[in-house]
């Protein structure tokens, strides 16, 4: 038993970058390799996705979207993780990774069609190397592992990022996927966005132990880090992805953060959590905190901050305009069009009957 623990510790390049509390150390920060422009880009992207997230909530409140699940407060994870990857690396998200998809280049207005009742998945995953949002919790984690195994079998150097929340770690699929990844030594980085809440159930009622520590039981390392520090997330995902790329297998990063908004627009968090908890996390806001650091380092000034805020505002308005102007695709194609690659005759007949019934009415 002791041997296993020792092997895992020796094989963990992340330990040297983080304090035992999960904070990026000065040494870790000095090894980031990001210039001033790249550091400003991290800030810009966080502001951009937060503004889009707010606009999506506005659209929901105005009846333009059926549902919205905010990721407010989790921007450092979205931006840090996506910046650490190559664009050829695949991402298998759960359903709150809107910001990640935006950073990959998926059009946010297209993405919102999912929440406008027009589509179940509006982008081609192969174009963006970004899998569809997965709504059944944790079911996407085995897909990520299968894909990563496929990368290994094809002898490519792609790495897979698998993201999920704290609630997902209770699901059987999560355990199975972690176990498969360990056995296959798959090039996958597991990134838990531990935001403290699975709808109304707090982490303390979700699991009695540590999420990060579970990795050891699957034969690979894990670490808990501050998920509200964009540089920490960037450093962790970079190191874990490099390790996976070199054939060293999976890594589990538990990024501690907080869901500042409701689970979705249909949820009422005042029924189950306190204002004081929210206030405590508000102090750790990933954007304000990072901006203060950038200012302190002289990397960003008020003018740049204002320009970024304006750009985010324009982008959000463009997203709204594009979404609300979008035509409703014809029902026959929308409902029947993508079910089969090689559709049975009976299926095509049903489509014809459906389409002619629309013409008749």
């Amino acid at each position: 038993m002791a041997d296993v623990v020792r092997v895992v510790a020796a094989d963990d390049p992340l330990r040297a970058l983080f304090s035992p509390a999960g904070e990026l150390t000065a040494e870790g920060r000095s090894r980031l390799g990001l210039d001033a422009a790249a550091l400003r880009e991290l800030y810009r992207n966080m502001v951009l996705i937060r503004r889009a997230d707010q606009e999506a909530l506005n659209l929901q409140r105005q009846g333009e979207l059926g549902l919205w699940g905010q990721f407010l407060g989790q921007e450092a994870i979205h931006v840090g993780a996506m910046t650490a990857l190559r664009t050829t690396d695949w991402v298998f998200p759960s359903y709150r990774e809107f910001g990640m998809a935006m950073i990959r280049g998926v059009d946010p207005a297209d993405m919102l069609t999912m929440f406008r009742g027009l589509s179940h998945g509006p982008w081609d995953p192969r174009k963006y190397h970004f899998a569809p949002l997965a709504i059944p919790v944790a079911t996407q984690v085995p897909h990520a592992v299968g894909f990563a195994l496929g990368c290994r079998l094809k002898h490519s150097d792609e790495v897979v990022l698998s993201t999920f929340g704290d609630g997902a770690t209770s699901e059987g699929d999560w355990h199975e996927a972690m176990n498969f990844a360990g056995v296959f030594k798959a090039p996958v980085v597991f990134l838990c966005q531990n935001n403290g809440w699975a709808i109304s159930v707090p982490l303390s009622k979700q699991t009695a132990g540590s999420i990060a520590d579970r990795a050891r039981g699957y034969g690979f390392p894990g670490i808990r880090i501050d998920g509200n520090d964009v540089l920490g997330v960037y450093a962790a995902v970079t190191a874990a992805a490099d390790r996976a790329r070199q054939g060293e297998g999976p890594y589990l990063i538990e990024a501690a953060t907080y869901r500042m908004g409701a689970h979705t627009s249909s949820d009422d968090p005042t029924r189950y959590r306190t204002e004081s908890e929210l206030e405590a996390w508000n102090v750790k806001d990933p954007i304000a905190r990072y901006r203060a650091w950038l200012e302190q380092q002289g990397i960003i000034d008020e003018g740049t901050v204002a320009a970024i805020t304006d750009a985010a505002e324009s982008a959000a308005q463009a997203m709204r305009a594009r979404l609300t102007a979008m035509p409703t695709p014809p029902p026959g194609e929308a409902i029947f069009g993508r079910v089969y690659s090689n559709p049975p005759e009976s299926f095509l007949r049903e489509r014809e009957e459906f389409e002619s019934s629309l013409e008749d009415s």
């Binding site: 179940h120 899998a131 897909h143 990520a144 592992v145 299968g146 990563a148 496929g150 498969f180 090689n342």
Partner: protein, 317 residues
Amino acid sequence: MAKAINLSLRDALTHDENVLIFGEDVGALGGVFRITDGLQKEFGEERVFDTPLAESSIIGIAVGLALRGFRPVPEIQFDGFIYPAFEQIVSHVAKYRNRSGVSMPITIRVPFGGHIGAVEHHSESPEAYFAHTAGLKVVSPSTPADAYALLQAAIDDPDPVIFFEPKARYYLKEEIDTAARVPIGKARVAQEGSGVTVIAYGPTVSIALQAAKTAAAEEISLEVIDLRSLSPLDMDTVMASVRKTHRAVVVHEAPVFCGFGAEVAARISHDGFDLLEAPVARIGGLNVPYPPARYEKLYLPDVDRILQAADAALAYG
């Protein structure tokens, strides 16, 4: 039939380097029914491999591998062990293309059905659950030749196929023509006749054929249709037969209640209401959990029950 499936897998592995076979015990052991016998030795551990014991992820990794460009052919060891994978099959394998535009050329092999005197969970017929799900194709061969050709068609198909192998018929032997093609969605007339149409698939086809033989001795002519494919369902072949016989009996091992026979019976009754001389009969398992092995003969459809239903259809009105 076991050898025909083995050969079909071997040929698929040979012809397409993206075909992968995996599941529980499919490697060195060659599967608990030896269906994958020798394949790992011939094609290596990267193309034919054992997985950890977890059905949901066996199917879950198939989704990821399909996205990466492979044609996965996972095996679920027994019918009664497919349920942990139900969510992956229904929520992802069946719907991934609809969600993303990316095809899922996955063939899930499942030994199914009874007649083997097994303990619980080893004799079930879960086909209706999957036939009910849009996005999947569901097939079941009844002969070695069809097993070979249908499996080729399933693996070639760009859409996901659930391939139910009638494990009690693994021992069936016949010469097969590996050049013969059997498209998915095409039933066959297994025995021509004129009095009553008996519709079966997988393990019940040979029982229907025995019934036809017995009936012939009493000068009753049964036409046996082997559906081969449940979804899509070849109603053209079924209705062509019913137009001739005006009577139909559907046979499967699964419980009659909400079984696949209900769909076939409803379709015949609707499409052939004016043709029918008797109500469409359904023969199948009882609406109970699969019984202990000593009782399975009483539960499963047999020649007598088919003959009784045929007699009743002929005597009707």
